[in-house]
Symmetry: C2
Subunit: 493 residues, 2 copies
């Protein structure tokens, strides 16, 4: 056994324990008895403690020092790069702080859910203050003198900086605002889909669509939860969804979104199973998969043509008279409060709001006590309507309750990547629309599996996107061109 | 912080991780995707490895040496006794062997389920041979020169020996055989309940009954699984059941049985949560709770009177014309293959068969290759009928696949304890039958919660039974007298 073998054997167990922690999170969101919270918080903290101890085990440092990197192949180099990055980062966070964050966020999530159900931000405020204070401390420790927010961002998008992202978002914003204004002022406005849609039938259709997009039910499952999510890597990748009798698109498109995440995890080459390369390489790349599944493919004219017919079979005649009207209903742009229900045009504006507010909170420029007001003020400015209730405002997302600061901007980065990938996909798979129109999106997503997903953590985020795009570096232009063409058509601009 | 405080803080995390391991087992049996097995095996092994490392951590030995036991109260003494026993036992098993057992039994369980579904013992044989060899090695290591089988037994029933149990079983057997012979030869034979019973309605009724017996759904849940079981301690105690459209008693009584286990775990004083005292003290005492719930209470004339009416409301008119006939149907004694479906009279004969065969396997007197034949020969001798298929024979129980050798005899010990407890309960709660007849078994089980369950691991197994029974030492006589009176009445002997 070489030092590399020893390190990888140790790492494999750490990865397995990380999967257990993920399973515990899934359990908490889907099946945990409602009175089990306090005990679960201790269970989660204990497991986090073990993971932290392993990630900062002095033997890892010794192995990293002892390994002759020149003797390693590309896979070995990539594994080592991932382990070293995590080791350095984890060592910077005191074990007591890491345990405290795990414990507090575990109970904060339940409190957030109650606060949202009661539409009362003051219920959530005290624990969010604690979470923010803990994340500020973590950011300081991680930054090691650098920018605290960037240190958090690096957890989700290695190598990215907020300055970079701001530049990209500055290029996105004016053209999105302009597009949105033209859409809002357009004479032609597509009608929404209206009606009541059996929630059981929605779940059944949702499962069918998930499988059609390539989700492997032998290595996954679909359950209901408050917030849709994907969880796990390799042979056990589970997704959740939620249903609403008045809005079947909510369950269908949140499922297709999570299927994008889940397929990425399921399609990674088996040789990377339970190694640092056995999971998606970054949140931005992850989001590129969920968004291209959901939007560029799932909300395309071709796929919605198939979906129009299939939903007619499932639910009876629809309020939209034909596939073209249905396509308009799927892609309606209207003022709305909820990020996850937002259209492709305004979605990134939701993200930018959160990106700015969370940077202010971490920097100490915005107190949690002032968050609700800051959110509401900013929202009215960006979206032209006042937030009517906290569950439509700053209580709508789970992220901050579980300590995910620095995560939101990766959503918009993912959209940009999805734009790049779709351009490449259309060039390389000319029959895209034929497959989608036939209800066979799996024949399209196969290209993503083979050109991007299978690599897992083998290449760095920008590199794996660039490779899949035939060497073209990521840019926001393809996304903007796609949106302008698509919505120009729908709204007859 | 004293050495005791340090030890208990460390132990609390170990207990929490043990709960996580239990949750992982529950997940595997209920919701895990079917293709996740190989990854799950590694996850389970990794967690088992962590638990083993913690249980043998040299600091535990140092703390145990350093603690001034005279300064501890009764709870402290009991905690220390439990930790010391486990420490000594765990140290004896090499970590590699413990990990191997976890890994092999994790996949053996899936293989067993497939073999049972295919009715083919040869599918199960190779992995069972591996399991037995590993358990023999573990028994040798644990016994430290003593009897290997007793060393395994001690895991489930601290302080018990197979010689002790044999003596007890020798006193049980002749009177049970005699009772069974008289029953089989009786002129009056109760008719079975026949019909088809909606499995959804069974699940609904089963939930209602579980709650009536005292099961707290805020700290538990009921799911379907191949094998009914109870899992977890404290604030998260889950049970599983299975349904059969032709036999509603299967789901009702397996649920009441598991509810007995689960209530024991749920009712332990909260001050013991996540300490060594926060779980049932032994399998025998555990089984006394499941069996008294299931049989002495659940199959009583009084409760079945209520159940007869309730099942009539649920399923329409029953094939049994009145409550008396229904009581007979619930308690029918007929030749049968399956332990878990067996009546109270023959149940212990099923257990004795397994007790003898597993002692022979661990001692090396019986090869796994000869198990099916040995089972079938012994079964025909004890029960008078030939096993018709392996799923009715040596493939019926999950236990051996997961390495549970030494567990079976605790079932009969539990029956003996249940007999003692029922005698005490009748003396102290004279209105037992009124509560049961009113469909309020929770008012009866409360006595068990207060006099036994709440103590968790505070007292040793025999001691907690003796205390609950007002100082009377455990004996098989109350069980025998109860059975002879009950079945003498039903069969008009």
């Amino acid at each position: 056994m070489t030092a590399y073998d020893d390190l990888m054997a140790f790492e494999r167990q750490t990865q397995a324990l990380g999967q257990v922690a993920g399973r515990l999170g899934w359990d908490q969101e889907t099946v945990m008895p409602r009175g089990a919270g306090p005990q679960r918080a201790e269970e989660t903290e204990a497991l986090e403690h073990v993971l932290h101890e392993r990630r900062t085990d002095p033997r890892v440092g010794d192995w990293l020092d002892d390994i002759d990197t020149t003797a390693l192949d590309a896979i070995g180099q990539a594994n080592l790069r991932q382990i070293r990055r995590r080791y350095i980062r984890t060592k910077r966070v005191p074990i007591k702080l890491a345990g405290e964050i795990a414990r507090v966020t575990s109970s904060a999530q339940g409190i957030w859910a109650d606060a949202r159900a009661n539409n009362d931000f003051t219920m959530f405020r005290p624990i969010l203050e604690t979470v923010v204070a803990l994340k500020q401390a973590e950011a300081q420790a991680l930054a090691d003198g650098g920018d605290p927010y960037d240190a958090l961002l690096d957890d989700y998008e290695p190598g990215a900086t907020s300055a970079q992202l701001e530049a990209m978002f500055d290029a996105l914003r004016p053209r999105l605002v302009s597009l949105r204004d033209r859409i809002m002022g357009a004479a032609h406005q597509p009608a929404p889909l209206v009606g009541t849609f059996s929630e059981n039938a929605q779940m059944k259709l949702t499962r069918e669509i998930a499988k059609a997009f390539g989700y492997d039910m032998a290595h996954g499952r679909i359950d209901k939860a408050v917030h849709p999510f994907s969880s796990g890597s390799g042979l056990d990748v589970r997704i959740t969804t939620r249903t609403n009798a008045a809005d079947p698109f909510g369950s269908i498109y949140s499922t297709v979104h999570e299927v994008g995440h889940a397929c990425y995890e399921q399609n990674i080459d088996r040789e990377h199973l339970l190694t640092p390369l056995g999971a998606g390489v970054s949140m931005g790349v992850h989001e590129s998969q969920s968004r291209i599944f959901e939007n560029q493919l799932g909300r395309s004219r071709a796929f919605t043509g198939w979906l129009f017919a299939r939903m007619g079979e499932t639910f009876g005649p629809l309020s939209t008279p034909d596939a073209e009207a249905f396509y308009g209903a799927v892609n309606r742009v209207t003022p709305g409060f909820i990020r996850t229900e937002s259209d492709e045009v305004q979605y990134n504006l939701h993200v930018l709001l959160r990106f700015d507010l969370e940077r202010d909170m971490i920097a100490g420029r915005l107190a949690v006590a002032d968050l609700e007001e800051a959110w509401n003020t900013r929202f009215e400015k960006d979206f032209g309507v006042a937030v009517d209730q906290p569950s439509h405002g700053c209580l709508q997302d789970v992220h901050w309750s579980v300590g995910l600061f620095g995560y939101f901007p990766t959503y918009s980065l993912g959209n940009v990547y999805a734009g790049c990938l779709m351009k490449a996909l259309r060039a390389e798979v000319p029959e895209v629309d034929d497959h989608l129109a036939a209800g066979e999106p799996g024949k399209v997503t196969r290209w993503l599996a083979e050109n991007l997903q299978r690599h897992g953590g083998l290449y760095e985020p920008r590199e794996v996107i660039t490779r899949a795009c035939g060497g073209e570096a990521p840019s926001e232009v393809p996304l903007l061109e796609y949106l302008e063409e698509k919505f120009g058509g729908i709204y007859r601009l």
